[in-house]
Symmetry: C2
Subunit: 207 residues, 2 copies
């Protein structure tokens, strides 16, 4: 019997089919690939390329996209500070469930604050949270401006926009920084292969 946050009298139910069984079925290990970076840095593009490259290897992935989740689970949240933190917290909790289900869960979210990302990392077993930083200068992201959001932010029509009038805190100790040094023009597919090499090396692509 446990007390958790605001709820008491909750008993933990353990199922006899566990993570190991699911991993055996899928021939992979569940984990979270957390892609962080500015708007326009290529997070979603990398997520898609990664998803496709892993699918072609017979691996099961699922993308949690910051924007998409705001259409459903997080539709009650705004962009004010505490709601942004709650947005990341929930994505982290859901990503944890997907990893527990045995999937390679790809979270693609700006997640500008180090504290929020680190909180998600602590939800997972050591090594199962793979933080990928899209290290693309603001200037380049702004010149791409795929959704026209920087323009709106510069015009003052969006307040608290990451990189413009809200900070982005780059990771201090993440698993991967992309594009890799000296390869500024890496394609999404090349970057996906870099992530896959990491997964392979760490044993995530087998049970």
């Amino acid at each position: 019997m446990a007390t958790n946050g605001k709820a008491t009298n909750i008993v933990w139910h353990k199922s006899s089919v566990g993570k190991l069984h699911r991993q055996e079925l899928l021939q992979q290990k569940g984990c979270v690939i957390w892609i962080t970076g500015l708007s326009g840095s290529g997070k979603s593009t990398l997520a898609c390329a990664l998803c496709q490259a892993l699918y072609s290897r017979g691996k099961l992935t699922y993308i949690l996209d910051g924007d998409n989740v705001r259409h459903g689970l997080n539709r009650d949240l705004s962009f004010k500070a505490e709601d942004r933190a709650e947005n990341i917290r929930r994505i982290g909790e859901v990503a944890k469930l997907f990893a527990d289900a045995g999937l390679i869960c790809i979270a693609s979210v700006i997640s500008p604050y180090r504290r929020d990302r680190d909180a998600c990392r602590t939800l997972l077993p050591e090594g199962d949270f793979i933080e990928v930083f899209m290290d693309v200068p603001l200037q380049i992201c702004e010149s791409r401006d795929p959704k026209g959001l920087y323009k709106l932010a510069r015009a003052g029509k969006i307040k608290g926009f990451t990189g413009i009038d809200d900070p982005y805190e780059p990771p201090l100790n993440c698993e991967l920084v992309l594009p890799q040094k000296g390869n500024n023009y890496a394609s999404p597919c090349e970057m996906a292969e870099t992530v896959i090499s990491f997964l392979e090396e760490k044993g995530f692509l087998q049970a």
Copy 2:
């Protein structure tokens, strides 16, 4: 560009690997089996039996247990009315993501209010929400009292306990009622087989 609830400027990102691809990989169809009923009616037991029986057929399932989710995603929620509704809403949204990922997602939650369950149903494509009602009389649930909660509720130590001082609204039109009529002593395994027959018949156990 869309406005959703409290957030604006959110673009929907479509991935090239979709639900059909994942279903092909898994050789099953994603869906939600929503098990509803009083505390002690056997929801978690059925969920486990179902999970095991499907695993032995090579199918990938994931259980969202009302109690377990309160340790993570929903740890900020209490048992007051609006938090109970939000608890169910979030479980419904997460179940939807799992079904979209291609899994047979088994939600095991008291979910006493018809309105909340119906709201979850509408999140999913027609036919993909399979509501299973554990139709066990209060008297029997209370005599089992596996967690000692009825005793606490009767003693007034838990307020708003479903079946005691908070209503349970049975489904009017659910897909399955268990135990089936005339088989009051069905074992969890037998009940799991009833659910599996339903899944088989509806084509969920193939891509």
